[in-house]
Symmetry: C2
Subunit: 188 residues, 2 copies
DNA sequence: GGTTCCATGTAACGTGTTACATGATTTT
DNA sequence: AAAATCATGTAACACGTTACATGGAACC
């Protein structure tokens, strides 16, 4: 239900599935990623529904391209989505299950060790985000001053804030666990 | 790849699919939820792989129950998962796409309004978590002092910290946007 | 002639949801 | 007799990933 609208949104200008895949890999990858197979399938579905129309065009290099463009119906449906209710996907962080069962079946030291590893992964991901942010800051000083500069970083900011909160959570949990293991529980 | 291990983990004591569904709804719902159909299917798959064995047993009320128990192989595989590498599922918050395109196609005021609505949803979810935390604190003062008391709240704490971070992000983004709309951008 | 890039797809699988079917037993 | 609860499932769909197939055109 989301890729549909991402594709519609990317189709302000007519484009082929190949173009869209490339565009998404380039500038939307940390927002929404998709494989070619899924993109092509979704485009066909959108055309069948009447939100897109396509035509075959000769390519300068390579085989013919199927170029999609939004129909008026497509414009309308995209607008409706834009202004519609924001939907929050349910969160499930799978690693919590592992922590839960490990804490039940093993001693606090092992759970703390697992939490350290989880923490490391969060930190690593945070560093990746910081690296992306650094490169985006570099290329974005002559291009588009307001929009891209503000919103390119918005998604990254959210990711980073989320990660920082989770890293802090790991730290606190580890503190509580090593406290339990070393000194017979502080209170509880 | 996760429900498998949640079920294995819940099967310290033999239980039927129905029992497991009930147990998960009761105490693991904010960790990992699953529908009956999926649980029954996964149980059959696990039996086929040799990690579980089942037998039909008469029920006091209702039809016969298929009761599953872990095999030695099941024990081994569950242990391996417990001690294995923690996996972080890739995050994609679908609402970011909506924000992205709205910001591109509409004025900052509308984007700020969307962010307010997103914020409201985060706040509502946070309140739900707080309510759960309150009820869990009440029922958990005679039962199991260390384990459940500490780990029942761990997952909730993470959820709440994550939500708080996201609420702050909304606030900051709204501030930036209304700044842009009102006073011609502070810098950039 | 081989590699790389362009371009579009198919098939199979994995995970999860929704809706429904079936039938027993217990409660009202 | 009807409704609720116990208990197990099937079928269809939705979304997404992985792996592979096909073939042209360009570059070395």
């Amino acid at each position: 239900m989301v890729l549909r609208y991402v594709l519609l949104g990317c189709l302000e200008q007519p484009a082929s599935g190949y173009d869209l895949k490339a565009a998404m890999d380039r500038s939307l990858s940390h927002l929404w990623a998709a494989e070619s197979s899924q993109i092509y399938g979704t485009l066909r579905a959108l055309e069948k529904e009447g939100l897109l129309a396509s035509s075959l065009e000769k390519s300068e290099k390579g085989p013919d391209r199927r170029v999609y463009r939004r129909t008026t119906q497509g414009d309308a449906e995209f607008s409706a989505w834009l202004e519609g209710d924001p939907e929050l996907s349910p969160e499930r962080l799978s690693v919590l299950s592992q922590i839960h069962f490990l804490a039940r079946e093993r001693d606090p030291t092992q759970t703390a060790a697992l939490l350290e590893r989880v923490r490391d992964k969060f930190v690593e991901r945070l560093r990746q985000y910081q690296a992306i942010q650094a490169t985006e800051a570099n290329r974005g000083h002559g291009a588009s001053p307001d929009h891209d500069a503000v919103f390119g970083t918005l998604a990254l900011d959210l990711g980073m804030k989320t990660l920082q909160a989770r890293i802090e959570w790991c730290d606190e949990a580890i503190r509580r666990l090593t406290g339990l293991g070393g000194a017979e529980a502080t209170r509880a």
